[in-house]
């Protein structure tokens, strides 16, 4: 599973990208957030307020209950501010 971080989520986590193999019980975006939060203080800080985080699964916007699987590309980022 490829995990990408953007904007201040990337800054807090400290890296832009990592390839991980979460355990089988991580089945959706919310579960992945919980599991990632335990990886480092940076991860914990980035995900401290889950309501401020948005996610994409395979480059489509996702919800906390969106499923995640081994070969997915998952991205975490703040609400978008383009235009």
């Amino acid at each position: 599973m490829r995990i990408l971080y953007f904007a201040w989520v990337r800054q807090k986590v400290g890296i832009a990208e990592e390839v991980l193999s979460p355990p089988a019980e991580v089945r959706d975006v919310a579960g992945l957030v919980q599991w990632l939060s335990a990886r480092s203080p940076g991860h914990a800080e980035a995900f401290a307020q889950p309501r401020q985080i948005r996610a994409a699964v395979n480059q489509e916007f996702a919800q906390p209950d969106s499923p995640v699987a081994a070969n997915d590309e998952i991205a975490f980022f703040p609400p978008v501010t383009g235009g």
């Binding site: 916007f61 980022f77 978008v80």
Partner: protein
């Protein structure tokens, strides 16, 4: 087929507009919107980051939705990334149609949706060296929800 581009380079409004109408005599109107970097609160620059791959897909999806809703003869979205100073153009949306209302409405639709539906993030830089991530605005969500 919409023209979608995410680029650091500046865009050329006249050339992009001409490209939509070249060789055609069935277009009644072309609407455009150019978003520009403002110097609010002493901003010295704006740094735009995006999610390569997803951004292009999201913009193509928004353009396809506009083409479903309005009878467009053409549609262009160009969004710049990287470091932009106040006064610099950030985004261009162009829509062409036989009918002015379709061009005008779809142009407003595209810029409203783009604000909340495409993975761009802005960081503001200030003269004292500090930086600040721009926060999403509730009024942008409201602008999107009216469509």
């Amino acid at each position: 087929m919409p023209r979608i581009s995410v680029q650091e380079a500046i865009f050329d409004l006249a050339a992009e507009s001409a490209a939509l109408s070249a060789g055609r005599d069935d277009i009644g109107g072309i609407a455009s919107f150019v978003g520009i970097c403002r110097a609010d609160d002493g901003i010295t620059a704006m740094v735009l980051e995006h999610y390569p791959g997803m951004t292009e897909k999201a913009l193509a999806g928004i353009a396809a939705e506009a083409e479903r809703r309005w009878p467009l003869t053409g549609c262009t979205i160009i969004h710049r990334v990287g470091r932009l100073e106040p006064g610099a153009p950030i985004v261009l949306v162009l829509t062409a149609s036989a009918h002015r209302s379709a061009a005008l409405e779809s142009c407003a639709f595209l810029i409203d949706w783009l604000k909340t539906g495409a993975p761009f993030w802005k960081r503001e830089e200030f003269a004292d060296g500090t930086t600040r991530w721009v926060e999403a605005r509730a009024e942008d969500e409201a602008a999107t929800s009216r469509w």
